[in-house]
Amino acid sequence: MERHYMDSKIKGVSTGVSNVNYVCSKTINKLIQVHDRIFCCIAGSLADAQAVTKTAKFQISLHSIQMESPPLVKAAASVMKELCYNNKEELQAGFITAGWDKKKGPQVYTVALGGMLLSLPFTIGGSGSTYIYGYTDAKYKPDMSREECLQFATNALALAMGRDNVSGGVAHLVVITEGGVEHVVIPGDKLPKFHDE
């Protein structure tokens, strides 16, 4: 999921990947860096998602070199969207693209399965997201501080991982600001506990 607070973005993902009958890995990093200040959260078929992000990363890198400046988050999200929309028959992957650029500061975009591109203040995705729509809608407020935002993301991830049988493992968070990128990794047992556990 993504949120943005005043001057930076926080993205968080859980790390479960499953085949039809079993969870094949509990330790996948689903936060892909597509440029210095732009990350993508991937969901859906990870094979498709990896293929798309690898292609997008190349295209965005070339675009940035041609423009002689860091890419706009909107441009990166548009590249993902073009790939998803033009190949919608074959692909089954959704993305959350977020980052920081000089023109508009921190931004969050979601690219849905068929290639719809939306700009939002915050968004959630993946199989576990269905369990936390209520929580995130209720608890989100604009202009949160970095700590509030981190706490919000961590709580939301913990709740989703608690309820969804194919989500779980480790929580990865990334804080993106003008100054740089910071990774926060929270193992499953260190996540906040809620009353059901």
Partner: protein
């Protein structure tokens, strides 16, 4: 001196195709293409504090000419305008190329194409036609101008060799030297579009040769804060005011010349 065509002794000709250099390192076909631009009437573009203004001297060759037709200024994208000089058919085809570039960029990257990138892409296209003997270079130069909230006003010029440079003011066509002299007199960095429109009209009137070319129609366009970032032909009342200013300034100069005599 026309070195390309050698004499009857059967010497080698260096100017028959764009894929041949001359011994002193020139590609004559490209130079001849630039001559085609110099035969055309003048077009100027000037960048100011809050926008870009284009002015084109359109020579009227016939009494049957319909006013406002045969445009020499094109819209390439909402925020980009293009003024041309040279072979008009070549220019029109290049304006389509520029439109496609701008459109594809928006499709892929979700935002307006930066003018520097657009002019580099079109310049690359023009350059490609200077490499092969199977095609001829484009016989036109053009000036691209745009206005954007973040980058401000931008002005680029592309010539038949495929070079693109950024400018504060530039001129192409038969009176480009005279026009450049007039442009250099302006303090365009401190002017607004409204002030500049009048000066552009005046410059076109000044460089127009009454003796050789009879009637002309002035085509004026602008893009800037005044138009909210949209490139469009200057509205009728502004154009009339600008033309009046231009004509009055010329009369003043004529009068003062007479006084000096």
């Amino acid at each position: 001196m026309r070195e390309g065509l050698k004499t009857q002794d059967g010497g080698i000709q260096y100017d028959l195709s764009a894929s041949t250099f001359s011994p002193d390192g020139r590609v004559f076909q490209v130079e001849y293409a630039m001559k085609a631009v110099e035969n055309s009437s003048t077009a100027i573009g000037i960048r100011c504090k809050d926008g870009v203004v284009f002015g084109v001297e359109k020579l009227v060759l016939s009494k049957l000419y319909e006013q406002g037709s045969n445009k020499r200024i094109f819209n390439v994208d909402r925020h980009v305008g293009m003024a041309v000089a040279g072979l008009l058919a070549d220019a029109r085809s290049l304006s389509e190329v520029a439109r496609e570039e701008a459109s594809n960029f928006r499709s892929n990257y979700g935002h307006n194409i930066p003018l520097k990138h657009l002019s580099e892409r079109v310049a690359m296209y023009v350059h490609a036609y200077t490499l092969y003997s199977a095609v001829r270079p484009f016989g036109c130069s053009f000036i691209l101008g745009s206005y954007d909230q973040d980058d401000g006003p931008q002005l680029y010029m592309v010539d038949p060799s495929g070079i693109s440079y950024g400018y504060w003011g530039c001129a192409i066509g038969k009176a480009k030297q005279a026009a450049k002299t007039e442009i250099e007199k302006l303090q365009m960095k401190d002017m607004t579009c409204r002030e500049l429109v009048k000066e552009v009209a005046k410059i076109i009137y000044i460089v127009h040769d009454e003796v050789k070319d009879k009637a002309f129609e002035l085509e004026l366009s602008w893009v800037g804060e005044v138009t909210n970032g949209k490139h469009e032909l200057v509205p009728k009342d502004v154009r009339e005011e600008a033309e009046k200013y231009a004509k009055d300034s010329l009369e003043e100069e004529d009068d003062s010349d007479e006084e000096n005599m």
